[in-house]
Amino acid sequence: MPQALETTRAVPTRILVVDDDDAFRESVRAAIARDDDLVLAAQANSVVAAREAIGRGEFDVALIDLGLPDGNGIDLIREISRTRPDVDVMVVTVFGDEAHVLASIEAGATGYLLKRSLTDTLGTTVRELRAGGSPISPVIARQLLHRFKKDTPQPSQPATVVDDGGLSEREREVLLFIAKGFTVGEIANMLHLSAHTVATHVKHIYRKLAVHSRTEAVFEAGRMGLL
């Protein structure tokens, strides 16, 4: 979607908010209200309520808090990414630390937000996400490189080949630059790409990791005799 801005202006992005903190939900609601491009589709304070909203609701982006009173937000992310592949799931974390973010990405999230700065960055992040770009930190980039390195057989394969589980050479390059502290814009300059393309690479990598994790889980389950 190259003309994302125009599209989102025409049709506001509907947002589902899942968090057990009333004050936080309220501040999100306020932030959404301030932004013309966003509209609150539904909000939930528990896994049960969220499931109901997911089943019922029409939404484009889901903001999910991981620590819910009656369950784990990861399960919700997994459910949404399986049943609603068109929806972008963003996990809401306090620190954006590798453990929480990577687990969410593996479950199918394509973005994340820091709780404390969410009201400031929500609009920008959602717009970028809907346009195909995902946020990524150097630590997460490094961890992603690890995840994929583990499963790529040997570096003897031709550089341009993209296999299902592994990364393309370009994607690897992008991750490496991010891990070294370069921004999407700088990487785009160095690789002679548009910033948008670089950001899209990141989202693709997230999706690959999710798919990869699923097949790995299936493989594991098969190996353990569960399937």
Partner: protein
């Protein structure tokens, strides 16, 4: 192949036939041998003719004319077969002429004298060649020496009378008799005793030693039957050699003769067994046949059922078998190695050659000082085979040692590998424990204090907004404290993140966190970094110090410098593993920090740089400030 008792008899019979042939029988009856003088300078005289008379029984006195005296050439063989008596006597009269009576007497030397007897000179007793009653001595392979005192001799004609005694069932003989000075005769006799008897004794001991050694090896390695068989062969050689040097048989004479006969066959059977094992063959039926040949033949022989010629044929049969196993041995030896094959061929050929020589010696018509040599081939043959066997033994020992060395080396490698693995495991466990602990703390911070601070911040902000709806952006005092607390917590969390010892990831994380604020401050960040090798000193502790120092530098830029651009560079100087240092420079284009109140912040930065073992350099002009953090890349010192 030693010449056994039976063959001995057979061959001697042939020899006798040869002596009885007309050419040899041309003995001049009554010829007397003359010696002008008997001393050390005079040559010995040899008496080759005698008057001979054989009795039907025993007689310790010289028979008179009633006995059928006849002139015979020496050597003379005779046998009491027809008498049927257990022991038989015969008498010889030998004549010789002396010019003068030697002052120190004379000595007699006979190359061969079987079996026992007495010497009389001019009717006077002079010497006895061994016991005349049971047991009779083993004299078949022994020369005899006797001293004749001067008192028994006289000038002119002298007569030697020899009483000879043998078993009725055997051959007896007397070789030509030599007379000379005591010194001369003794020298000849001793030399012959050495070669004929003493040396055989020594060789017998050596084959016994080898035999015992091989049996010892076999006891340790029962599966190697060839050591057993050849050990037996070797010991049997010693037993047979007894017949060549023992003074008296260890058994009754007839039984001993039978045993010697059977021993020859047994040796052939044992050799055959050894040869089969050496060739790696088992021929059960043939082996059984060989043992049956030995046992049945021995039984027949001892029971006296077989006539003499049958026993000789029984023995000769083993000679044929020995040719077969000799060929087998050499062929197998050549298959193993040319050296082994040729050694066996040489040893075997020597044995055959010496046996042939002995056959010739036995059947030759003249008596000489030559000795039988076959038994000399025994040590050679035993030695060669023993060498081969011992070499195999040693080789297998060496192979085991090499194997053991290889095994030891492999075990060592495995042990080292295990140790490495163990260390890795310990390291992994430790890392896992650390990661687990880190995860737990992060989770606590995330869900606990982090969430609460975040909640507090959002509440304060909302209160601020509600209290002052018109105010633009910026946090109030409480909100700022809360935000900075969260940011500090964020820094701690970030320092705990896995960065793979990459300084750029550490700096990049900080950049990522500050990006929004820098953007809002209108500051452009130049990321002029160079990649650095992994730095093992980048532990969470040192990472936090670096993060705090760099964050403080950024904060100063944001707060005080009014800069529009900040450049971050990295670098590496010095020698890896020694004095290598990493450098981080944060350079802004602001107005400098002269006169601004950044003292405490700078002090904290310096203290932290010191904790890293590094230095913090700050150079500030009106055109900008450069903060340079340098620290050693070696593992962080406490």
């Amino acid at each position: 192949m030693s010449v056994g008792a039976g063959t001995r008899a057979l061959l001697l019979a042939c020899a006798v036939l040869a002596w009885l042939a007309p050419g040899n029988a041309l003995a001049q009856a009554g010829t007397s041998v003359t010696a002008e003088a008997v001393d050390d300078d005079a040559p010995a005289i040899t008496i080759r003719e005698a008057r001979f008379c054989q009795l039907a029984g025993l007689s310790d006195t010289l028979p008179g004319a009633e006995c059928a005296w006849q002139t015979v050439p020496l050597a003379k063989m005779w046998s009491g077969h027809r008498s049927g008596a257990p022991k038989v006597d015969a008498w010889f009269k030998l004549r010789f002429h002396l010019g003068t009576v030697p002052a120190r007497g004379a000595a007699m030397y006979v190359v061969a004298f079987n079996r026992t007897g007495r010497l009389f000179v001019n009717g006077q007793y002079a010497h006895q060649f061994g016991s005349m009653a049971e047991p009779l001595p083993l004299n078949w392979n022994r020369s005899q020496y006797a001293f004749i005192p001067a008192g028994l001799l006289r000038a002119g004609d002298n007569e030697i009378e020899i009483q000879q005694r043998a078993y009725g069932w055997e051959w007896a003989w007397l070789a030509p008799v030599q007379l000379g000075s005591e010194n001369r005769m003794l020298a000849m006799w001793r030399l012959r005793v050495f070669w004929q008897n003493e040396l055989v004794r020594v060789l017998g001991v050596s084959t016994a030693t080898i035999g015992l050694f091989l049996l010892g090896v076999w006891l340790g390695r029962r599966s190697h039957a060839m050591y057993f068989w050849f050990g037996c062969v070797s010991l049997l050689w010693t037993l047979i050699s007894l017949d060549y040097f023992a003074l008296y048989p260890p058994l009754p004479a007839h039984l001993w003769e039978g045993c010697m006969e059977a021993a020859q066959v047994l040796r052939a059977v044992l050799m055959f067994m050894f040869t089969l094992r050496y060739c790696g063959k088992r021929w059960p039926l043939v082996e059984l046949g060989a043992w049956a040949y030995l046992v049945l033949g021995s039984a027949a022989m001892f029971s006296g059922l077989l006539p003499g010629y049958a026993i000789d044929l029984w023995y000769l049969g083993t000679l044929l078998a020995s040719v077969v196993y000799f060929v087998m041995l050499v062929r197998q030896g050549l298959r193993v190695s040319p050296l082994e094959g040729s050694m066996l061929a040489v040893a075997g050929a020597t044995q055959i050659g010496l046996s042939g020589y002995d056959l010739w010696l036995y059947s030759s018509s003249t008596w000489t000082d030559r000795v039988y040599l076959t038994h000399f081939s025994a040590p050679l043959f035993v030695g060669v085979v023993a060498t081969i066997l011992i070499q195999r033994f040693v080789e297998s020992l060496n192979a085991y040692e090499r194997l053991a060395a290889v095994l030891e080396e492999r075990v060592g490698e495995k042990a080292a590998e295990l140790e490495r693995n163990y260390e890795q495991l310990v390291e992994a466990r430790r890392n896992q424990a650390l990661a687990f602990e880190r995860g737990r703390i992060m989770s606590e911070m995330h869900d606990g204090i982090g969430s609460q601070l975040t909640l507090a911040l959002s509440l304060v902000r909302r209160m601020d907004r509600e209290a002052n709806p018109g105010a633009a952006g910026g946090d109030g005092q409480v909100a700022t404290v809360l935000r900075e607390s969260i940011e500090d917590l964020q820094l701690i969390i970030d320092s705990l993140e896995p960065v793979d010892n990459d300084l750029l990831t550490v700096l990049g994380t900080l950049r990522y966190r500050l990006q929004d604020r820098l953007g809002k401050g209108g500051i452009e960040l130049q990321w002029n970094v160079v990649d650095l090798p992994p730095l093992p000193m980048l532990t969470p502790h040192s990472v936090l110090s670096i993060l705090r120092i760099v964050q403080e530098a950024f904060a100063n830029c944001l707060k005080h410098s009014a800069a529009t651009r900040i450049t971050v560079t990295t670098g590496l100087t010095g020698e890896p593993g020694r004095d290598e240092k990493a450098h981080i420079a944060i350079i802004d284009d602001g107005r400098g920090i002269e006169g601004t109140r950044v003292g405490r912040g700078l002090e904290n930065m310096r203290r932290r740089a010191g904790a890293l073992g590094g230095t913090l350099g700050i150079s500030s002009t009106t055109g900008g400030t450069e903060v340079l953090l340098s620290f050693p890349t070696l593992r962080e010192s406490a």
